[in-house]
C-alpha cells in the first residue's frame, strides 16, 4: 500500500481547472518531483497535500488516513517554501523550535531537537542569529530544518531553490537529497527546473496544463518521453514530423532522408504522419563502415558549451542539434561542410499523439 496517495484529484478555481485526473501513489521514503512550467498545477497539487487548498474532487491519504478535508495545522506535513517564510522576529533556533513549542513539547526536548536540526544543516553557530543575518542558502537550510523538526510524515518542498544562485542551488539540492535519504522521509518536490528534478528524484511527475503527462524515473523520463510535451520540456530534443514508409520494418522518412526506428508502428499505414524525437547526443558522425540510419547533412553552426560541443546540422530542409563530447585532440568539422550523421534505431522515438 502506498504511503501517500492522491486519487482522482481535481481542483477548480471558478471556471478554471487547475488540476485534473491526478492519480499518484508514493512509497514511504520516496523522493518524487513535480516538474512542469508555471501554471501547470504542480504547486496547487502540493498545496492540496499541505491542506492550503481543498480538492474539488478526489482524496489525499497519508499512511491510510484520509486527510483530504483536514486543516493544515491538523496534518503532520512539513513544508519548505520558495521564499523561505522564516519568521523574521524569531531567531534561527526559535524558528526551528516553533512547531515543537506549538505542540507544547518540553523546553529540554525542544532544545535537544533544535540542536539536532542545527547540526543536520551545519549551522550550529547560527542558532541565535535572526533570518536577516543569514544568506539565502542558509535561510533555506533553516527552513528545511524547521519543517523537519516536527518529524513530519511527508516533507513538501515548493521550488525551494529557485531564489538562490546557480552554484548554491547545486550544492543545496545535494544536501536536501542527502538529508532526505538519511532521515528516510517521504518527500514531494516542486520544480520547473528539469536538471534539478532529474538529479534529485526517485521519480518525476511531469505536468502540463493541470494534467500528468508522464510519471517515471529520471532515466525513463529523459530517455523515453511518452508525449511531445515531455520530450520538449525535459532536455534538448530534436522533434519532427515523419512519414511512415514501412510500418512493419519501422522505416520512416524525414526531410528526404530515411530513418529506421526500433519502436513498433502497429496500426500505422504507409503515408501516415508521426512525431519522432531524437536526443542530440544520440546523433554521431557516421563512420565509413556504418550503413544503417545514415543521412547526409550540412554543418550549420557549432556552439562550444564546455564539456559538450553542440553542432547544428541541416538534413533536407530540417535543422537538428547534435551533441558531442568536447575533445581538444579531435578536429571538428567546419560550418558549411557536408557530412553524414547517424543514430541507432533505438534513438528514434515515436511520440504518442
Amino acid at each position: 500500500m502506498a504511503f501517500l496517495e492522491l486519487t482522482d484529484i481535481r481542483k477548480q478555481f471558478g471556471q478554471a481547472v487547475a488540476v485534473e485526473d491526478f492519480n499518484l501513489k508514493v512509497d514511504r521514503g520516496e523522493f518524487v518531483s513535480f516538474l512542469g512550467p508555471s501554471g501547470c498545477g504542480k504547486t496547487t497539487t502540493l498545496r492540496m497535500i499541505a491542506g492550503f487548498e481543498i480538492p474539488t474532487e478526489g482524496s489525499v491519504t497519508i499512511d491510510g488516513a484520509d486527510i483530504t478535508n483536514k486543516a493544515p495545522n491538523q496534518r503532520n506535513v512539513g513544508m519548505v517554501f520558495q521564499s523561505y517564510a522564516l519568521f523574521p522576529n524569531m531567531t534561527v533556533a526559535q524558528n526551528i523550535g516553533f512547531g515543537l513549542r506549538i505542540r507544547k513539547e518540553s523546553e529540554s526536548a525542544i532544545k535537544e531537537r533544535v540542536d539536532e536540526m542545527l547540526a543536520l544543516i551545519h549551522l550550529e553557530q547560527k542558532g541565535h542569529s535572526y533570518p536577516s543575518q543569514l544568506s539565502g542558502g542558509q535561510q533555506q537550510r533553516v527552513a528545511l530544518a524547521r519543517a523537519l523538526a516536527i518529524r513530519p510524515q511527508v516533507l513538501l518542498l515548493d521550488e525551494p531553490l529557485s531564489a538562490l544562485d546557480a552554484k548554491i542551488r547545486v550544492s543545496l539540492r545535494a544536501e536536501i537529497r542527502a538529508i532526505q535519504r538519511k532521515l528516510g522521509i517521504t518527500a514531494i518536490y516542486v520544480t520547473h527546473d528539469q536538471e534539478e528534478a532529474l538529479s534529485i528524484s526517485d521519480r518525476i511527475v511531469v505536468m502540463s496544463q493541470g494534467h500528468m503527462e508522464q510519471v517515471g524515473t529520471p532515466f525513463e523520463i529523459y530517455n523515453f518521453p511518452q508525449t511531445a510535451f515531455v520530450a520538449s520540456f525535459v532536455g534538448t530534443l530534436n522533434t519532427t514530423t515523419a512519414e511512415v514508409v514501412d510500418s512493419a520494418k519501422g522505416i520512416l522518412q524525414i526531410d528526404g532522408a530515411r530513418l529506421a526506428t526500433a519502436e513498433k508502428l502497429d496500426g500505422r499505414q504507409k503515408g501516415d504522419k508521426v512525431t519522432i524525437a531524437i536526443r542530440p547526443e544520440r546523433f554521431s558522425f557516421a563512420s565509413e563502415q556504418k550503413k544503417a540510419n545514415v543521412v547526409d547533412c550540412r554543418i550549420e553552426n557549432i556552439t562550444f558549451l564546455g564539456s559538450i560541443v553542440r553542432i547544428q546540422v541541416s538534413i533536407g530542409s530540417g535543422k537538428y542539434f547534435m551533441d558531442t563530447f568536447n575533445n581538444p585532440f579531435l578536429e571538428l568539422p567546419k560550418v558549411g561542410d557536408k557530412d553524414q550523421v547517424t543514430c541507432s534505431r533505438e534513438a528514434v522515438l515515436v511520440l504518442k499523439d
Partner: protein
C-alpha cells in the same frame, strides 16, 4: 606607458564626477534643510528661550514653575487623557478596519474607498470638523433630531454629550482612526501569506499566529503609529476650541496666553509649549526603548 598615463586621468575624472553627483544630491535637500531650520529649529529655539524669559526679556524660571500650578497640571492631564484615549481607541478601530480591507478578503474597491476616505478624513480637523459634529450630533444636530423625531430617543437624556470629554474624544476619533488606517495599511500589506501558512503548517492556529508572529512583526508599526496618533491629538487645538471653547486642554491654554485676552502672557505660552515638547520627547523616548526591547530582530 600609454596606459600608465591614462589611468590617473580616468581616476581624476571619475572622482570629479562623483563629487559633482554628491553636490547635486546635497543641493536637492537644501530647500528641505532651509525649511526645517526656518520653521522647526528656529521657532523651537525661540520658544525654549522664551520659556525662560519674562515679558521684559530677562531670565526667569517662573514660567516653568507656573507649569506646576494645579490648573495647568490639570490641563496637561486632560490633554494626555484625551490623546491617550483617542490614540488607543482610534488605533484599535483603525487597525481593525485596515485589517478587514487588507487581510480580510474584502473586494478591492472597499480598500480603495476606505483609503481615499482616510486620506481626506485624516486631514479633516479644526473648525470645520467641530462644525460638522455640532451640525450632526449637537443639541439640535441632524442625527439628534432624527433620533428624537423618528425613534423618540433623546440621546442627551441618555447621557450622550458632544461637549464633554467623551464628545470631544468622539470628534477626535474622526481624524484619528483614518490616520491609523493610512499608516497600518502598508504594514499589513507587508505580512506575507507564507508566514501564516508556515505557522499553520507547523501546527499553529489563528491565535498562535497572531500571538507569536503577526503582532510581534507589526508591533513596531503599531507602537509608532499610536505615538503618532497621540501626538496628533496632543497638538490639536482648533477642534477642541471650536467645539467647547472652555475645554481646558494645553493647546487651548496656550491660545489663551498668546491671543491677547485677559490671560495674555506669551512667555507662559512658550513654557506650556515647551512642556508639550518635553512630554512628546518622553513619549518618543519610551517608544524607542520599547521598540528596542521588543523588536531586536529589526536592529
Amino acid at each position: 606607458m600609454a596606459q600608465a598615463t591614462q589611468n590617473p586621468i580616468r581616476v581624476n575624472s571619475s572622482r570629479r564626477s562623483s563629487v559633482i553627483r554628491n553636490l547635486v544630491a546635497w543641493a536637492g535637500i537644501v530647500p528641505f534643510l532651509i525649511f526645517v531650520i526656518l520653521f522647526l529649529f528656529w521657532p523651537a529655539s525661540s520658544l525654549i528661550t522664551g520659556s525662560f524669559q519674562n515679558q521684559a526679556g530677562a531670565f526667569t524660571l517662573q514660567n516653568i514653575i507656573d507649569l506646576f500650578t494645579p490648573s495647568i497640571m490639570d490641563a496637561y492631564m486632560l490633554s494626555i487623557q484625551i490623546s491617550l484615549v483617542t490614540a488607543i481607541g482610534g488605533g484599535i478601530f483603525g487597525f481593525m478596519l485596515a485589517y478587514a480591507v487588507i487581510q480580510g478578503g474584502l473586494p478591492r474597491w472597499v480598500r480603495t474607498a476606505l483609503t481615499t476616505f482616510s486620506g481626506v478624513a485624516s486631514n479633516f480637523a479644526g473648525v470645520p470638523l467641530a462644525f460638522a459634529f455640532i451640525a450632526t450630533l449637537g443639541h439640535t444636530g441632524f442625527l439628534t433630531a432624527l433620533f428624537a423625531d423618528k425613534l423618540g430617543i433623546d440621546i442627551y437624556n441618555l447621557g450622550f454629550n458632544l461637549y464633554n470629554f467623551w464628545g470631544l474624544a468622539l470628534t477626535y476619533m474622526y481624524f484619528q482612526f483614518p490616520l491609523m488606517v493610512l499608516i497600518m495599511a502598508p504594514a499589513l500589506d507587508g505580512l506575507k501569506r507564507e508566514w501564516r501558512e508556515a505557522s499553520e503548517n507547523l501546527g499553529a492556529g489563528s491565535y498562535q499566529y497572531w500571538r507569536y508572529i503577526a503582532l510581534p512583526i507589526l508591533w513596531p508599526s503599531l507602537l509608532g503609529s499610536t505615538i503618532l496618533l497621540f501626538g496628533n491629538a496632543f497638538g490639536a487645538y482648533a477642534t477642541a476650541y471650536a467645539l467647547t471653547r472652555t475645554f481646558n486642554i494645553v493647546t487651548v491654554l496656550i491660545g489663551d496666553q498668546i491671543s491677547g485676552n485677559v490671560l495674555f502672557n506669551p512667555n507662559l505660552g512658550y513654557a506650556l509649549a515647551f512642556g508639550m515638547i518635553v512630554i512628546m520627547a518622553i513619549s518618543i523616548g519610551l517608544y524607542t526603548w520599547l521598540q528596542r526591547r521588543t523588536a531586536r530582530w529589526l536592529q
